[in-house]
Symmetry: C2
Subunit: 271 residues, 2 copies
């Protein structure tokens, strides 16, 4: 079982290059990254950085948000998504995350938004397949509905994937789905369709004080991480466990220390 780190865990202290060096220094060879640090113009340079550090990409964040106020906006979103997929493929990413974004300002039509998102996912999933990578649907926590997503449960992600056909893929982040009474059943369903391509870990703190940036370190919260992992791996998923912690608290800490704590917590929980 491979443990790897998502760049977002070190957002405030490290450049991408520092993160890759820290990974390499630990004898690790895979990471997930965010496009904020990857302009279309420096893909070649980034490839060189990855090669030099002997680090490969697992997840690439991201396609989206999907804008849909006008047909032209929607087309632009799809084109932007295609460009990001091309970059992910060029960098050899295992998968690229699909981020729906929120409702258009002034709109309350959640059902209509969900339809446009399904349409976008269908197009971009097929495009990703053609480009040699995978579009990964990630349900987010319902508290982010409207503002950052319209994909709010693993059941909804599975329903969406049923419509995508070949190449449909899901990333499960425990922070977003741990509360769901149907979680075990929907993990099994994802597994039976052989569509789990990523498993993100962190923890849910009680109380949680911020909707976006108060995630916990594995073991500090109330998610039964080992139980969820056992359910995911029982479906046949043999991919990586990826640590992704959005936390003002952990962003302030020494990133080398954070990296080591993430690894040791994961080894103690998942080994």
């Amino acid at each position: 079982m491979e443990i790897l780190l998502n760049q977002a865990t070190f957002r405030k202290k490290w450049t991408l290059e520092q993160f890759l060096d820290a990974t390499s220094d630990r004898g690790l060879h895979r990471v997930s990254i965010w496009r904020d640090d990857v302009k279309p113009t420096d893909v070649a340079e980034l490839s060189q950085l990855l090669n030099r550090a002997k680090v490969q990409l697992f997840g690439y964040n991201r396609v989206g948000p999907i804008r849909y106020k006008s047909d032209a906006d929607f087309e632009t979103s799809l084109e932007d998504g295609e460009r990001q997929i091309d970059i992910a493929a060029q960098l050899g990413a295992d998968h690229i995350l699909f981020f729906t974004g929120g409702l258009e300002p002034g709109s309350k039509d959640l059902a209509g938004f969900r339809e446009k998102v399904s349409e976008a996912a269908k197009h971009l999933s097929a495009y990703a397949q053609g480009a040699g990578t995978v579009l990964a649907i990630e349900p987010l926590h319902p508290m982010l509905c409207g503002d950052r997503t319209c994909l709010t449960s693993l059941k909804q992600a599975n329903d969406l994937c049923d419509n995508l056909g070949d190449g449909a893929a899901i990333v499960i982040d425990v922070h977003h789905v741990w509360w769901d009474p149907d979680l075990s059943q929907q993990i099994q369903r994802s597994g039976e369709a052989d569509r789990i391509v990523g498993f993100h870990v962190n923890d849910w703190l009680v109380p949680t004080t911020h909707l976006l940036t108060d995630r916990g370190m594995m073991g500090d919260g109330v998610i039964e991480l080992r139980k969820v992992w056992d359910e995911v791996s029982a479906t046949g998923y043999s991919g990586s466990i990826e640590v992704e912690i959005f936390s003002e608290r952990w962003w302030e800490r020494d990133p080398d220390e954070v990296y080591d704590i993430c690894l040791s917590r994961c080894r103690s929980i998942f080994s």
Copy 2:
């Protein structure tokens, strides 16, 4: 269609007596209240206050939290619940809200907690029926899972109610369920079983900045309030629309003004 106010909307500015007077002054005759202001010793006095103001109770908040660390704790929770149900019945409340509370400190066993909560609901629902009132199950938003609830979707509330049999009842608060892709289907299911006894309104702000106290005034957020209400009333629900806004912002405003804004917003949206 009756519109009524929940006392929590005025938490910081009014005593219960002031709230009842403000209700009476507006020619209204029903409210929902919280037990924080109702000690077992002053039930008679409260009855007098209600009679004097010619105001009746719709919802009474609440039974719970359910404690279950030991059998003794669990028994105490049930006994406390029975006392609260007796008070609600004595005050003539239409229904009493069931609040599960959060996980026991140190526990991560969400499934085990949910089993204890089902057991408690079964006992207390039957007790409420005997006492001449109704125990109302209210699913809360998943962001409150662990800290304040383990009942996180309308589907879960319906599943629980299927097990309660006669007297099973549900209160739907838009803030807690609006994000749910299965909302329409689960409202219909609740309606077919004739178990909707309350409908709470407020709004979901984008962005929402606090997990508990940043609810919006109806119309200021992204919930399709009229659409949800149409679905609820299409099931045959003919009860009240209850305004319940937890908001630091609205708690600071002049409560008379807030009362009038709540009524006028509701009239414009739901009439």
